[in-house]
């Protein structure tokens, strides 16, 4: 089963951390990524640029309107994602729990839809 692990954080709080604290977070992330690559569970993942770079696009009556800033205004924003394929849902939440952002903010674990199915 594939899961998207959505990483939420608060850019302002992240900036307020000391350099050592930030470096510790980066090396934790590196270690987890290495482990997931070696186990064959990592399917993909990307970090997103700061939410201030976001443009939100809406089309109303066929007319696109583009505004600066995220769709949902919140202190915590989506900062990146990780895609994994795990044997169990428990394993996916276990990975999320080890991601440093889970300690300060939160991770969301969402199963992906699959293009296959069984007739009933």
């Amino acid at each position: 089963m594939k899961y998207m692990l959505l990483i939420y954080n608060n850019a302002a709080t992240l900036q307020a951390l000391s350099e050592d604290e930030r470096n510790a977070i980066f090396s934790e992330v590196d270690a987890i990524m290495k482990e997931l690559t070696e186990s064959g569970e990592l399917v993909g993942g990307e970090a997103l640029a700061d939410a201030s770079n976001t443009k939100t696009v809406r089309v109303r009556d066929g007319v696109p309107a583009i505004t600066d800033g995220p769709f949902v205004e919140a202190k915590e924003q989506l900062a990146g994602y990780l895609m994994v394929e795990c044997e169990t849902p428990e394993r996916a939440t276990e990975i999320a729990a080890r991601w440093p952002d889970a300690r300060h903010w939160a991770m969301e674990v969402r199963p992906l839809m699959v293009p296959s199915g069984t007739e009933m």
Binding site: L42, M113, P115, S116, T118
Partner: protein, 413 residues
């Protein structure tokens, strides 16, 4: 360049034989598997361009042996450079045999290889990947495409599986009893998982995935050739054939799912049904009963009904009762409840379904909601049925099932 289909078939057939011979000679499974894979890739190109060599198997063994001796020699040299004090033990096997020096093996190693690839020390994902590569002769790229993951991810799973085999010291040999019985159970389960991965694929971009179905059937036929008296091997093959027979009828051209009761039975593949029924009839008559045989028998009863209303539901109920005894499992109970509803009415089915409400394994499972909605619809409680289909549609992670469940709900609106 596209590989000739005839070349590809031949390579898939030869892959496990060649790997077996090379592993017997050089023992190092991980290095041998890589070498054989490289030989297969080279053959796919050269044989397609220049035609088949006189002795295709000998050619593959020679090329794979050269690669592996090169690999072992360079490892040997590296070790010597690193440790000059190391004893100068000549690597007496580091000599590739001359072409034509290949003996036709007395024994077929396919089964031994399957036991190795499906060893219980490996995760199911690794068992599947390694089986398809080492026994099925598929490339990592093909396996990755079929399982919808990047090639790097699949390559990592395969190399990790091989490392694990090396690290745990799993031997390339036929396991003795009772491990052999347990091992065969895992092998059959892995083959069934491969089959289902292909069978449940529904639409155009998934054509790669449907090849998994034929590959699973091909490998199960191989196992049956080697273990002709095993009832469960025959049962699994029959189950695959009888299930696969419905494939042309189970989806509409747009990929939407067609339930069994609404399938155009004229589209069912007759050859598959005939072969499946013959297999299961024979197995039931002479082998000890097992879960695959019972599931195949259920599929056979469906296949024998010319129209849905001709289905012998009491017989299917009886078979599910046997299956619940042999292999109790909430998914079996779900299907059993449907059969009971068809044989004795929806209330009886709902009553049986009630026994699953307290089962943690089924809590929030879309299948439970979907079956309950179906039985409620049969019972005429349309409002409850609609809400059940909607709940099931929200819980499923399958796009085609979600589409089907939404459509069922909409039909009742």
């Amino acid at each position: 360049m596209r590989t000739d289909a005839r070349v590809e078939d031949l390579l898939r057939r030869l892959a496990p034989q060649v790997l077996g011979i090379v592993v017997r000679r050089y023992r190092r499974f991980d290095a041998c598997e890589d070498a054989v894979q490289e030989a297969l890739l080279a053959a796919a190109v050269q044989w397609t361009e220049r035609g088949l060599p006189e002795n295709p198997r000998g050619w593959l063994i020679t090329v794979a042996s050269r690669r592996i001796t090169d690999e072992l020699r360079s490892e040997d040299a590296r070790r010597r450079r690193e440790d000059t004090a190391a004893a100068q033990v000549p690597f007496d096997e580091s000599v590739a045999p001359a072409p034509g020096d290949e003996q036709v093996p007395e024994k077929d190693d396919t089964l031994t290889l399957l036991f190795l690839c499906c060893h219980s020390a490996l995760s199911p994902a690794s068992q599947i990947a390694l089986t398809l590569r080492a026994v099925g002769g598929l490339t990592t790229a093909q396996i990755a495409r079929a399982f919808l993951v990047p090639e790097a991810t699949m390559a990592q799973r395969i190399s990790r599986a091989k490392q694990r085999i090396q690290a745990t010291g799993i031997q390339f040999r036929m396991p003795p009893e009772p491990e052999r019985t347990d091992g065969l159970r895992v092998v059959l389960h892995v083959l069934y998982l491969i089959f289902n991965e292909g069978y449940t694929a529904t639409s155009g971009p998934d054509l790669q995935r449907t090849e998994l179905t034929s590959e699973a059937i091909r490998l199960t036929r191989e196992v049956r050739r080697l273990l002709p008296d095993d009832g469960e091997v025959a049962g699994l093959l029959a189950l695959m054939l009888l299930t696969d027979a419905r494939r042309p009828a189970r989806t509409n051209p747009d990929g939407t799912l067609v339930p069994l009761a609404e399938q155009d039975r004229g589209k069912w593949v007759k050859d598959r049904i005939t072969e499946g029924i013959a297999l299961i009839t024979d197995a039931l008559a002479r082998a000890p009963l097992g879960p695959y045989q019972v599931q195949a028998a259920i599929a056979a009863v469906h296949a024998e009904a010319a129209r849905p209303q001709d289905t012998d539901w009491p017989q299917i109920v009886a078979l599910y009762e046997v299956l619940e005894r042999l292999a109790p499992n909430p998914m079996v109970t779900l299907n059993h409840a449907v059969a009971v509803a068809m044989a004795r009415g929806p209330e009886a089915g709902l009553e049986l379904l009630g026994t699953l409400e307290a089962d943690d394994r089924m809590a929030g499972h879309h299948r439970l909601d979907a079956v309950r909605a179906h039985l409620l619809e049969m019972a005429g409680d349309l409002a409850a049925a609609r809400s059940g289909y909607r709940t099931a549609a929200r819980h499923t992670t399958s796009l085609p099932e979600q589409r089907y469940l939404e459509a069922r709900a909409a039909r009742l609106a």
